[in-house]
Subunit: 486 residues, 2 copies
Amino acid sequence: MRFIADVKNANAVLQWDQETYLPAKGAGLRGQQISTLSEISHRLLSEEELGNILQELLSKGDLSPQQRRNIERTNEDYLKNKKYTSEFVRKLSEQINKAFHSWIESRKQNSFSVYEKDLHALLQLKKQEADILGYQVHPYNALLDEFEKGATIELLDSTFHNLLPTLKDILDRILKQPQVDNSFVKQSFPKQKQWEWGMELIRHLNFDFAAGRQDISEHPFSVSFNRNDVRITTRIDENDFSNMTWSCIHETGHALYEQGLPEEQYGLPLGEACSYSIHESQSRLWENNVGRSKKFWQFYFPILCGYFPAQLENITLDQFYKGLNQVNPSAIRTEADELTYHFHVYIRYELEKKLLDGSISSHDIPAYWNENYKKFLDVDVPDDRRGCLQDVHWSHGSFGYFPTYSLGSFYAAQFYQTAKEQLKELDGEMENGNTSSLLSWLRQNIHSKGRFCTSEDLCNHVTGKRLDVNYFINYLLDKYVSIYNL
Amino acid sequence: MRFIADVKNANAVLQWDQETYLPAKGAGLRGQQISTLSEISHRLLSEEELGNILQELLSKGDLSPQQRRNIERTNEDYLKNKKYTSEFVRKLSEQINKAFHSWIESRKQNSFSVYEKDLHALLQLKKQEADILGYQVHPYNALLDEFEKGATIELLDSTFHNLLPTLKDILDRILKQPQVDNSFVKQSFPKQKQWEWGMELIRHLNFDFAAGRQDISEHPFSVSFNRNDVRITTRIDENDFSNMTWSCIHETGHALYEQGLPEEQYGLPLGEACSYSIHESQSRLWENNVGRSKKFWQFYFPILCGYFPAQLENITLDQFYKGLNQVNPSAIRTEADELTYHFHVYIRYELEKKLLDGSISSHDIPAYWNENYKKFLDVDVPDDRRGCLQDVHWSHGSFGYFPTYSLGSFYAAQFYQTAKEQLKELDGEMENGNTSSLLSWLRQNIHSKGRFCTSEDLCNHVTGKRLDVNYFINYLLDKYVSIYNL
């Protein structure tokens, strides 16, 4: 399994390089090299001999719970992987590469039609993939399982249908109140200064720079080649420091999880993150629950002002805190506030389901997109780039991924509330810029567990309850009632 | 073969990253990931089925000369590769990783003894490798063949024995003359300015930045993942601009070769460089024959002065030219002038032969080293770091590599003389900073040929003669007679 992990991690290095340092003309063969490594790791993970070894191990009696879990999960991965042929893996990887480049081109031209053909071909492969994997009720369930084991559209539908009316209600109340000002965000913030500020922030949050690095890329992301080499990226908008600041915190949240996985379990399930939604719970906990709290900025705001004294000269901590939590329906998901964010996810989730069951075709995407942004957020989508082309995920073949973003926020609220109850000193520490005990708590309760159990079981174990969106609703209410005097 | 090339090139990305951006703690597992990919490419290149296909292709009658050559060379590689077991490949790769890290540590501690044990273990593996490959006369021949097909110690011994007395004679004559001044090199040259100067220089030399990039590393190197992604690195010494300048030109020479290989031959012998010595002939031709010539600096010196006006204020082009060609025996190979350089190579070459045939042991290296630097160059080696620890090559397992450095210089002189004879406009173009027709000549005569023939045959083909060191001697004499008034 370590041998296979080496190949997968090597491939992740190639992908990291592709997003950070690859020269333009290198894209074609890089795509091929990535496909080749994908094919190799698939071959290795479907070798007959591995299956036999796993069967033998499964029948053993004298295993520790950790050993047993490693074997069971590996066997699940093996059986799933066996369903694919090498040809399909390669074809999919190549089509992803194609779609990625035509997505980039379509953004340049600001026209969905440039992307449509390759996205359509990719969608056909994803439908095939759902058939290969098998599913109950809806093909979306097959793909969802890839990102969130055990989740189903039944669960997601009911979660969203419970949540959205409440969110809508809070939103309506907010929109009736006077808007808070966040115009200080949009000034000139020199690149180099932003970079230095971001690096200081990350260091404070205990990102281990001996076991990772930060670079610049078009779209911020995090990637791990093992717990001792975890990389994050950011982007800098010279006219808006918030972009960089919260993307740094978000990616650091992902990275802290990876840097906290058990070292001796490299290549084994217990050395891997629990799930995409739990991964996202870590990035969001740091980005939002911590990084958009007033206590956090009590410590960091003066440091930030040291970097940008002129720009923040007349801003008080209170104005700053309110401004960074402004609620304002907009077209761009990554810039959305914590409340309207989930409408972005929901719209795409519904769209993905329809694309997969064939009730709408790729051609209809822009119209569907724009109509639903109007319907749910009362937002007029100005163009495709700021509409259905805004996210990279589809071009990576990641259908079924988005719901984990919302689940991540819900888990984050539940985890953070539990941490606050268990760590009595947390508020005081936060005011002093000390997040070490929070990190230790996450390490002990979540990071060190690896992929021992499902998201649901982990949540139950850590918080004593199954996932409950009321934690999230209460968290939002608590915040917005005071900011908007609801 | 393209599939195998993908794996090898992926591994090269991992190695590039290791030397440029890898965080400290990532070194251990990175070494393992590299070993895993090495093992996989070895496995793929020794599959029975590939051998059968090659046999079948070899027996075909209707092949073009290019096709035939591709098949023959691939078959040679295949048969050679078959001699190794996967276990040996992995063991060697792991020991190289170990030796690399203890070499780094030994340099930190400035003590050969830290390195000795791992170097010894690596040497034992290299001796085994020589036995696995088989050889005539001397185990060195087996390893030499890896870097320079067809070369033998017989050939090298006679080349060096012909050349060195002449070099010694020129050196003695130079040392009797007044020394030229190069103290302008040792001033403060700010990092960022040097970087910008280097980038401008590289761009002028037609390095294609859409198909490559330059980064910083501890030791300058070039590496190619395919002709559309060729990377070079440099290092910057703030107290000496020459280090960076000529390493940029040198690595660009390597890169121009790689960027000029035929694209459609990716993964096949005709898409690869001819040999290490021909590779080195390209870097040295640009670094020395071009980059240390007066004509070249007629154009570039004013540009350089634009970057460092204060530092070069009172220096004339003539002083500059003489200074950068100063001959001065020293302990460090990479800083050596074009004349004494070959004593560095010779000393290591002799030492490597003795290490391989067992006439001296690893333990004796520092003593042998220091004694021979005294004997051949009258240099007192100040410490291990500036002595036998100065070069990385052994820790990469590269025994038999160094002679290609000297051969590269000799080929470069012969190629450059031929180019000058064939390109009547060359001198005039050079004065105007235009090296395009020289590059075209190299592309047409050398780069585009790939690994169609051996170094010797290529030389014969391009220059009408076999390798003749008199080209190199005449080139040196021509330069130093005028600089030192010999």
